[in-house]
Amino acid sequence: MNDRVALNQPLPPEMVRRGTGVASYQNFPVFSATWLKKRTTLFALIIGPLGILMGIAEVVRSDRVWAAVLLVAHFWIGGLALTTAGPALATWVRHRRWPLARERRWVFAALAAGMLISFTVDAIVSSAMDASLASGTAALPPEPAVHGAGALALNFAALFLIYGLVGGGLAIRQFLAEPRRWADLAQQRELTELRARKQALDTHLGVLQAQIEPHFLFNTLAAVRSLVITNPNQATEAIDALVDYLRATIPRLRDTQLDSTLGQQLEICESYLRLMSIRMGRLTWAVHCAPALHGIAFPPLLLMTLVENAIKHGVEPKAGPGTIAIEVQRTATTLVVSVNDDGDGLREPLGSGVGLQNVREQLRARYRGHAQFNLTSATGRGTTARIELDLPPS
């Protein structure tokens, strides 16, 4: 475990449950140098003002500035030793990067040593303080002696508890849980990655099915066969477009790559639209995208699924001329890609199509909330499918 956990790096956000502002030390591995620094700062912020308040109270009470300064200094030293000695030793231990079992043993030992140190420091400081205070005021009545072994044990237990808790006892829980939490996180990440991969595969499968879908294939062949006789030039164009489309999509099916650019995806859509417009003879289409945007990363075949949908549900069922337009726009923080058709709009009140489900799930798996997908239509007229991706600021 130890060889994998970097002590100088903040913990991944998925692992941190709280810890903002002064509590931000919790964002770092327990007993790491940064953790110690931030934690000590936090305690210093509490102990510092508290000591000053005590000093002021002492000046008001006894009017002796030197005694007050001593008191404050003693309080600071005692408090800092109490809260930091154990954790500082444990931090030293952790940075030795020993094997886990050995590290654990020595962290416990370090905390115990810390308690001993702070107890000693406290005893010295207290007696020094008592001496300096006693010289200024009437001697305090002697504290009633605690009698009996039971009471003594209780006293020790209370002390142990306080020293233990403040001196790193709470941190030890986090420390012991850390390996398990790292393991959980690794598992979680693996799961997310697998899910993204599965979604991409499903989309690929969807496109593959559409390609070998007999209606697409036989209708394309029928169109080409017809054109060979009536319009050989167009037949050639149709075959070229089909080849472009198949070539652009088939190799991607084999290696199922997850990376592609917007430019590549637009090209696939264009070859498909070119073919469909020759076939149908009533389809016009356009792609509006500034060339500067072609290099932006864009998930494979999502756009193709939307274009196919626009043909199948928008243009094909509607009589007369049909239009499909792909628009790409970039704002400061988002990329908006939309596919518009001028068909009859969304009609079926209920659907169970898996194509759009794939689009949605793939976006969710890859962008985790930083992508939107929606499908709308002005009542009965045309449909717009819209993907919006958050872009890292450039």
Partner: protein, 265 residues
């Protein structure tokens, strides 16, 4: 011998022209009275020219509906046309691939052509039509009705994944995964997501049957909620129970049967 009048309906222009050309060669006796690109044009041409043979592509834009009660499936224009004039003309269906349809045609003795159409196969079809004498066409209505049902996209059999709902002038697609509640509103249903609401023209009772019962629980005759979105159930002074959903403020009524079931868990 009466003249043979042929109508062709095929939405892809190159294929339509090729069929016209091929038919001229294969069947010189026939007169092609119309070659149409969609169902509506074909319907009008049929009334005008009264053909006795119709070559119909199964999948193409259908004719405009006269009555809203007719449940037509978008894109199955050929079937819709055959239902309209199949009793007045011999139908030859043209299809790229419809396994089910092809089997049905063979059983029901309806002629069909597979794309791409080969001239030899077209010649066979023509011979069969001539042999039949082009008298009274066979009754095919029942078969067509079955076909239309079978070729329709499978929305009824599968789990519901999408709902389209109107919101003012726009219609929007909602993923069922995003829906946290459905509420009955007379004959309509209110679809509630974390961020949005919309009305669909379908009763809650119809809708419930298409939802996953593990995912959505019917808590009242007027409300179905996503189980994972339930926040709490509270009983008021009158003894009625109300349910709130995570992140929402409205209270939904809960039936006593559901309360009993819920307590038992």
């Amino acid at each position: 011998m009466s003249t043979i009048k042929v109508l062709i309906a095929e939405d892809e222009a190159p294929q339509r022209q090729a069929l016209v050309t091929m038919l001229h060669e294969v069947w010189p006796a026939a007169e092609i009275v119309a070659a149409c690109s969609d169902g509506q044009a074909a319907l009008e041409a049929f009334d005008r020219a009264a053909p006795n043979v119709a070559f119909l592509d199964i999948r193409m834009p259908g004719p405009t509906l006269e009555r809203t009660s007719e449940r037509s499936v978008a894109g199955l224009g050929g079937i819709d046309l055959a239902l309209r004039f199949g009793h007045r003309a011999h139908i030859v269906f043209v299809t790229a691939y419809d396994e089910y349809a092809v089997r049905a045609f063979e059983l029901g003795a309806i002629d069909y052509l597979l794309k791409p159409i080969a001239p030899a196969r077209l010649r066979e079809t023509v011979q069969r039509l001539e042999a039949r004498g082009l008298q009274q066409p066979p009754a095919i209505d029942a078969l067509l009705a079955t076909l239309r049902r079978e070729l329709a996209p499978v929305t009824t059999r599968d789990r519901l994944k999408w709902i389209t709902a109107s919101h003012g002038e726009t219609t929007k697609l909602y993923a069922v995964d995003d829906v946290i509640a459905f509420r009955a509103q007379d004959k309509y249903t209110l679809v509630v997501t974390a961020a949005d609401e919309a009305i669909i023209r379908m009763s809650l009772r119809e809708l419930v049957q298409k939802l996953d019962p593990d995912e959505f629980w019917q808590i009242h005759r007027s409300a179905v909620v996503r189980a994972a979105a339930i926040d709490q159930i509270k009983r008021d002074e009158l003894g009625k129970s109300w349910l709130t959903l995570r992140g929402r403020t409205e209270q939904l009524p809960v039936s006593t049967t559901f309360v009993t079931r819920f307590r038992g868990m």
